[in-house]
């Protein structure tokens, strides 16, 4: 029936009806369902892709916006802290890729486990980590999530199933994939494809950059990683699939604005136009902002206020972390073993630092 399909189409593309827009306070809308179409259709390999229509709610959109704003602020603040030499060593920033972290969290629970590589600040936040713990860890303080002993690349959160945070990676995906497929393990392999492996473009490092197809016998899905709703849809779909049928690959087509790490300017292997182009057209926070405004979930001013508030929250966390104490020298020896053997460790002069490994 032509009329009903017309109405359905209108429902997908047009904002909510005027009745709701008259009373624009958030609480009355928070349970209503908004259906949004993802920016791009999903491309799939050996599986039927999920539908483009994603169900979300005003509450969820606001959560996405708030979480992504917080992550973005945190990464930018980490950039300045690094330049001020409060964060040292290696620091790999996640800004531009926030949609992947929030979209994933929206589709899974805290009982599902995540493990990732060194670009882990925002995944830690998404898993429920605190800003204060993150900054304290980045500055090497005792109150950090790894007690200051791990650093940027070693964020963990056992209670929320976040298994880290790892510095040295390489070739673990094909091997892991084989075993997961062999034993039908409920694993989702997410490739955050930001198109560059450190300083080398993906087409120079991989014969086939269509990573979602690389699983061969394992089905795969290519997702627009800058669209949090598409990520959520894909992850929900993937979770159902993995629990029933075994591993699935998700390739998130995303982008990082910063270089590979803080020591990489990020502009020697790509043009500034490319970076600003992506920022203008595909920025994840902007997309959610437009959706929120289009569906009258909040006003422009409210969103700006949220961003300001997040900025304040991040600055407070940084200030608190700056004041927090450095680890004790005795912390050098804690947590080497779970149960120590009373092995003696001593400092170079055999007198100054002498401890038994607890």
């Amino acid at each position: 029936m032509a009329l009903s399909t017309n109405r359905t189409v209108n429902q997908l593309l047009k904002p909510l009806t005027a009745a709701i827009s008259a009373t624009r306070c958030l609480s009355s809308d928070s349970t209503s369902i908004i259906t949004v179409e993802s920016s791009l259709p999903f491309t799939s390999h050996k599986i039927d892709p999920p539908s483009r229509a994603v169900e979300t709610s005003p509450n969820e959109l606001m959560t996405f916006f708030k979480d992504m704003a917080e992550m973005r602020r945190m990464e930018i603040a980490a950039d300045s802290l690094y330049k001020a030499k409060l964060i040292r060593g290696f620091c790999h920033l996640y800004d531009g890729q926030e949609a992947v972290a929030v979209g994933m969290e929206a589709a899974i629970t805290k009982k599902d486990c995540i493990i990732t590589a060194y670009r882990d600040h925002c995944i830690y936040l998404a898993r429920g980590g605190g800003l204060y713990e993150s900054f304290a860890e980045l500055m090497g303080r005792k109150d950090g999530c790894s007690k200051g002993k791990g650093g940027s690349m070693h964020f963990y959160k056992k209670e929320s199933g976040f298994y880290g945070g790892h510095g040295i990676v390489g070739a673990q995906v094909p091997l892991g994939l084989n075993m997961a497929a062999l034993w039908d393990l409920p694993a989702i392999l997410v490739c955050e494809n930001n198109h560059y492996g450190m300083g080398t473009a993906e087409w120079r490092a991989a014969k086939s950059p269509a990573y979602y197809k690389r699983g061969d016998y394992v089905p795969g899905l290519k997702v627009d990683g800058m669209d949090a709703l598409a990520v959520k849809q894909a992850c929900k779909f993937a979770k159902e699939h993995a629990l029933k049928n075994g591993p699935i690959i998700l390739e998130m087509d995303t982008y990082r604005y910063h270089g590979h790490s803080m020591s990489d300017p990020g502009s020697t292997y790509r043009t500034r136009d490319e970076i600003s182009g992506v920022r203008q057209e595909r920025d994840p926070i902007e997309r959610i902002r437009k959706l929120i405004l289009a569906h009258d979930v909040a006003t422009e001013k409210e969103l700006k206020d949220i961003e300001k508030e997040k900025r304040k929250v991040v600055d407070e966390a940084i200030a608190k972390a700056k004041e927090s104490p450095m680890p004790d020298p005795s912390d050098l020896f804690t947590n080497v073993y779970v149960k120590g053997f009373g092995v003696e460790v001593f400092g170079p002069d055999r007198k100054e630092v002498r401890a038994t490994l607890p």
């Binding site: 060593g89 791990g150 040295i168 120079r204 490092a205 020697t268 292997y269 050098l332 170079p348 002069d349």
Partner: protein
């Protein structure tokens, strides 16, 4: 960085331009120089002409050209500047050595992550890809096991690859290749295949790089039979060891250090190749032999300044060759001073210092007046927090205390 800067100050105070010229003009004919070459290059046996104006010292003086001092004026003519040679940073010295070898021998190639278009994460291979092409300076995917294996295969078929690990810690992923193929192939094939590969990269404890990026792989690799290990510490020996490693038919692992890449030194314009199996006498002395390598050399030299002020005369040797040890130079020193202090960055358990202690005790036990003292890093993963990290490595005051205790 203060420690390093002071250390450099100590090192340059001892390395006067004069001494470098004199070094150049030595045509060492001692049996230790195993890689003499024809043509313009020649081997330098680093026999410690670096001291406070103590020229003509050392037991080998009789082997050298009598007009060694006069040779200084000859070589000065080669350079238009007032001091001969040119100044550069350590990573530039590595690049210079690499470039000279690539010019000289078309089979030398480089492979690693970000070595080509990016120019190398520590700029060692900057400018080489535009000059030699993408295949000869190859950007590999992030798969150490795979491209190290590829390098070994290339070496087996006649090339001389230089494999760069972006950080030595990443080479743990290639341990299988390094141990089984690199080290053992020449033996298990009955000598049919030789593996003239050079595996190089920065390791060691840096500035809060975290546990995984601050590893000292020399202690893990030292038992692998069939490989040679060297550690460079100055631009001069970096270039010389790089060239020697490339020319060697054995697999060589060249350990660089993350914090030493920006050291500046004046090195000779002429081509030179150092001996891979030889140690470097940094400072001759009488009271105690201090054996060290890589970054700890600078901590030792800083401590040496304090020790000299306190009236001690330490002999400092940069062992450079981690496998095999240069027991000739070390033994000569032990026989003179009778006391040994080893200062290393490896961990206490199973590090280079532990092996060196065993080797010296076995060979020179009769000459020792006191047990060997080995100062090494703590047996803990390197923490990220700066204060804790400083506690894991040996600091100059601890070296001073150890020497004082040893020399009582």
């Amino acid at each position: 960085m203060a420690a390093i800067i002071q250390g450099i100050g100590a090192a340059t105070a001892l390395t006067s331009p004069n001494s470098l010229d004199i070094k150049k003009s030595f045509l060492s004919i001692s049996p230790r120089s195993l890689s003499v070459r024809k043509g313009s290059s020649f081997v330098v046996s680093s026999d410690g002409r670096l001291s406070y104006g103590l020229n003509g010292r050392g037991g080998r003086a009789e082997h050298f050209i009598t007009n060694a001092v006069a040779a200084k004026e000859d070589t000065a003519a080669a350079s238009t500047s007032s001091k001969p040679g040119h100044e550069l940073l350590l990573f530039e010295a590595l690049r210079e050595g690499l470039e000279e070898e690539m010019d000289r021998d078309p089979t030398v190639c480089v492979m690693g992550e970000d070595v080509g278009h990016y120019g190398g994460s520590y700029k060692v291979t900057k400018g080489l890809a535009p000059k030699y092409g993408d295949l000869r300076v190859l950007d590999t995917p992030i798969a150490e096991n795979s491209f190290t294996g590829m390098g070994i295969g290339a070496a087996m078929t006649g090339l001389r690859p230089v494999v760069e690990g972006m950080n030595m810690g990443f080479l743990l992923l290639a341990f299988n290749q390094i141990s089984n193929n690199c080290g053992m192939l020449h033996y298990t094939s009955g000598g049919q295949f030789k593996i003239p590969i050079v595996i190089r990269g920065p390791g060691g404890v840096g500035r809060q790089l975290g546990a995984e990026h601050s590893q000292r792989l020399e202690s893990y690799f030292q038992s692998i039979p069939g490989i040679q290990m060297v550690a460079c510490s100055t631009p001069y020996n970096a270039k010389g060891l790089m060239k020697a490693a490339i020319r060697s038919d054995n697999p060589v692992i060249l350990f660089e250090h993350v914090l030493l890449y920006n050291l500046k030194e004046r090195i000779p314009d002429e081509e030179y190749v150092l001996n891979l199996e030889e140690a470097e006498m940094v400072r001759p002395g009488e009271h105690v032999t201090i054996l060290t390598y890589s970054r700890m050399r600078y901590h030792v030299m800083q401590a040496a300044k304090t020790l000299v002020n306190k009236g001690y005369d330490p002999e400092v040797i940069d062992i450079r060759s981690l496998k095999p040890f240069d027991l000739y130079t070390i033994g000569k020193s032990v026989k003179k001073t009778h006391r040994v202090l080893i200062v290393e960055e490896c961990m206490r358990t199973g590090g280079i210092g532990a092996s060196l202690t065993a080797a010296i005790t076995e060979n020179f036990h009769d000459y020792l007046d006191a047990p060997i003292v080995c100062l090494s890093s703590q047996d803990v993963p390197t923490p990220y927090a700066g204060t804790l990290e400083n506690w894991t490595v040996v600091q100059p005051p601890q070296i001073v205390t150890a020497v004082e205790q040893l020399c009582q």
